[in-house]
Symmetry: C2
Subunit: 509 residues, 2 copies
């Protein structure tokens, strides 16, 4: 595989292996965000969430965090671990967070800018199960994990991983982060992800990313090279391992995405206004804590508000309520000058029409909400319980289409082509004209899986649906996969690190 040198030139399509792809390079979103709420309504939610933090407060389930918050002037109740925040403390702390920064990948061509109108499309993160049309659904394995990381590497439109693309349950959990980190580094040269499950695992990831990039801790602190998501245990609680992971990340200058898990009607009020208020309160409290602990450390505002099916309590995604929250969430993030994370989410159980219209609803509203990082961009099914190989390809098609939509329309004498219209005249056609021949190869988005054949030809080919096309494509990408180059000395150092740490963990256990 060759790699495109210029980050800016992502206009021409490019075939990698057997499928047409957009060139590598990060996209910018040219569309001004939709303002679904008025400035007054945003202010009402802002003030209500400050009131929540002053009057109700939030539980921080870590004594070290409580010490830090108490020292900063928060009202800390040690017995309940409830923290109440003065609104001034929240506002001045959150204001320390940077609005923009740059992620550093082991291949600098895969660096990613965060903030403004830059967008990052991540692959799926954290499902316990994997599925494909051939083998159905099963608990995720190391093989699934590796194959999904390989696809993430091979798909140009996917900028980085978004967590373990599936949880490899056949890998021992106490040292899984070491195996997964090593796989991330060797199978992709894009940005990767560490789980905030205590300080130790993050510390291991930091050591590994320094080895991979050949940098020291000082450089790492200046150059965010890893990210994690800290989910609150909504309502109004954040657990200890998450907080300790956050601290290890933040004091080393790595990016934390604070994402409340505010499903309206379950862990948050049944109204979107209420769920957004709670989301905002929880996000502000944790971001304020991070900025008190490590001022200026990179952070993103995560929105994940959706609704549940009130008949069953099952979570729903890609719904109109989800879209409302995705749009409003962007307004809230911008209210604080914070980069905004949203998701490409669906509750569908298979890669069918529902998966596609819910993914479209999620992605359109996230991007029109000004989302800077789209987590679960490719491969999510079942509200996050399953990573689907076919859905990853269907989503890549959707993301490529959005990338193409982001490109400006060229309007000038040349593209308008009055001479071509003169030549063709009334009743003719443009297939063979010079204007067409000079442009047809790159004029239109070339799809990965969309089948535009006429019905008869399609039927003769066995009437393949989009999922079947996607099945063919991921197999072809895996067959063509070539690992990105890596200095053998780095691989050796990584292996030695992993071996040493596994021994230490076994001895400690």
């Amino acid at each position: 595989m060759t790699r495109q040198r210029s980050r800016r030139d992502h206009r021409g399509p490019r075939k990698v292996g057997t499928i047409p792809q957009v060139a590598r390079g990060q996209a910018r979103n040219p569309f001004p965000p939709i303002q679904i709420l008025t400035a007054d309504q945003i202010e009402m939610i802002h003030l209500a969430s400050l009131q929540v933090l002053e009057e109700i407060g939030m539980e921080f389930l870590d004594d070290g965090a409580l010490d830090i918050l108490a020292r900063a002037g928060a009202d800390v109740d040690r017995s309940t671990r409830r923290v109440r925040f003065d609104r001034g403390l929240i506002e001045e702390s959150v204001a320390r967070a940077p609005s923009t920064f740059t992620f550093h990948a082991r291949n600098p061509e895969n660096n990613l800018r965060v903030g403004d109108n830059w967008t990052i499309f991540c692959s799926v993160g954290s499902p316990p199960n994997a599925s494909d049309l051939d083998n159905g659904r099963r608990p995720g394995t190391q093989q699934d994990f590796r194959n999904l990381v390989r696809l993430t590497q091979s798909l140009n439109v996917v900028d980085c991983v978004g967590g373990y693309p599936v949880e490899p349950v056949d890998v021992p959990p106490e040292t899984r982060h070491l195996d997964c980190g090593r796989d991330f580094i060797t199978l992709t040269d894009k940005l990767w992800y560490a789980y905030a499950l205590g300080r130790e695992r993050i510390a291991d990831a930091l050591a590994m990313v320094c080895l991979a990039r050949g940098i020291d801790r000082d450089q790492l602190r200046r150059e965010p090279s890893l990210f994690t998501v800290v989910n609150t245990s909504s309502p109004l609680r954040v657990d200890g391992p998450m907080l300790r992971g956050l601290m290890e990340m933040a004091e080393n200058g790595q990016c934390v995405i604070v994402t409340p898990f505010t499903l309206a009607g379950a862990m948050a009020p049944v109204t979107i206004a209420g769920a957004l208020t709670q989301q905002n309160a929880e996000a502000l409290a944790v971001i304020a804590f991070q900025q008190i602990f490590a001022p200026g450390s990179p952070v993103m505002y995560g929105g994940f508000t959706s609704n549940v099916d009130m008949k069953s309590g099952a979570p729903a995604f890609g719904t109109p309520e989800y879209a409302h929250a995705a749009l409003a969430g962007g307004q809230l993030a911008r209210r604080y000058g914070l980069p905004y994370r949203s998701s490409n989410a669906t509750a569908a159980n298979g890669p069918d029409a529902q998966a596609a219209y819910e993914a479209s609803m999620s992605t359109w509203s996230a991007l029109l909400g000004g989302c800077n990082l789209l987590l679960h961009g490719a491969g999510w099914l079942e509200g996050g319980l399953c990573a689907s190989f076919e859905k990853m390809i269907i989503d890549a098609e959707l993301l490529q289409m959005m990338r193409r939509l982001f490109q400006p329309l060229q309007v000038d004498a040349d593209t308008i082509g009055l001479d071509a219209m003169r030549d063709v005249g009334p009743g003719g056609h443009y297939f063979g004209t010079a204007h067409t021949l000079a442009r047809y190869e790159t004029a239109f988005y070339p799809p990965i899986i969309s089948d535009w054949r006429n019905f008869e030809t399609w039927q003769e080919a066995g009437s393949p649906d989009a999922a079947q096309h996607a099945n063919r494509v991921w197999k072809s990408l895996l067959a063509d996969y070539v690992p990105p180059p890596l200095d053998p000395a780095i691989t050796e150092a990584l292996d030695a690190f992993v071996a040493r740490r596994k021994k230490e963990i076994a001895q400690a256990g």
Copy 2:
């Protein structure tokens, strides 16, 4: 079936038969249109299209139309039937078209406003084939036609028909318009559609709509009660039957949607800028003709620009290029103060993920382009060659979701629900709270087909995909269908009219 009295109150969901539906009533689109082109670029396209009409001109394949245009001052070449327009003539003629008007249905509760930010969702129009999961794809029949009209009537989110939902090829073509018109009037009380295939068929439709509404020609002229689409035979030609149908419609005050058929790379330049320029030139020429012939008659600006697959020449829809054109088309329509028509289009052959992501791409871009009338809103497949019963239901889900998305988010002390947050506190849940119980029944959009069950329950139920759910839903809607009330005297008069006209046509033939 009961009917909601207030047009404005479409917030509460409502079950009709076995499926949850939005209440009847037309939607308004609260989102400001996306400006994909700058004002300068729009002006460049505007000026280039005026230049096309001045220098290249357009063929009008009807001698009567040529007479009218010559009298108005256009430069008419009788031998080639080529008409060249001075830009002043175009601009002053187009300026006579109304920006807003109201469609009158036989049931006044189904009247529809056109223009501003009002939206109209039509069902599919004009495919030669029908398909469903049980019987596959076949040439359309009268039974298919009637069933699709019944579904249009039963689906609250579908505002009107969008042409024959399928061409009933088992009905004799010379009198098909009489049978179809009678079916439209008896099976639905929503707005219907007549084909501009010469003056006579339109005259029959005008007579029938007067009978159905119990009005005379004067009232009909004041109250648009029918619409038609006039497609140009791109590039730069409009055929005779279309022009004669247009004249019969326009002089009777009925609405014409002028829609150039500008597939970039085939009947229009391969660039979207060029295709839009040609679309704009053709639309302006025909709209100007209509306004010269019948000043002030209702008209809409139709955009249908898409691209072809340059490998095969097959038309593609719901592509990024389609979305670009749908957004820019709205800007052009508003440049002239004209209501804007776009479409929910896809080239997929079955109701799969491709059908859903292409339909989503089309619908989002049409609505963000400020579309006032979404033709083919529900049921289109294969680039218009097939009406799918399952796709109609999948699209109805998509349209209902957009309707819900159009509703404002309520933000006030009551919806924010601080008291509920106080009651629940950190670590609790909201399932049983008073705030939830008071709202849960109407808090969220209830889907028609989206399956939110967990994987195991879904698998036990046979792993139904969205198309299978849609199959169940359309059958249930047809089983529950009740024809809208119609005065038996009207039915009798209609039958007598149809019988008389059939005899006349047989004698004339």
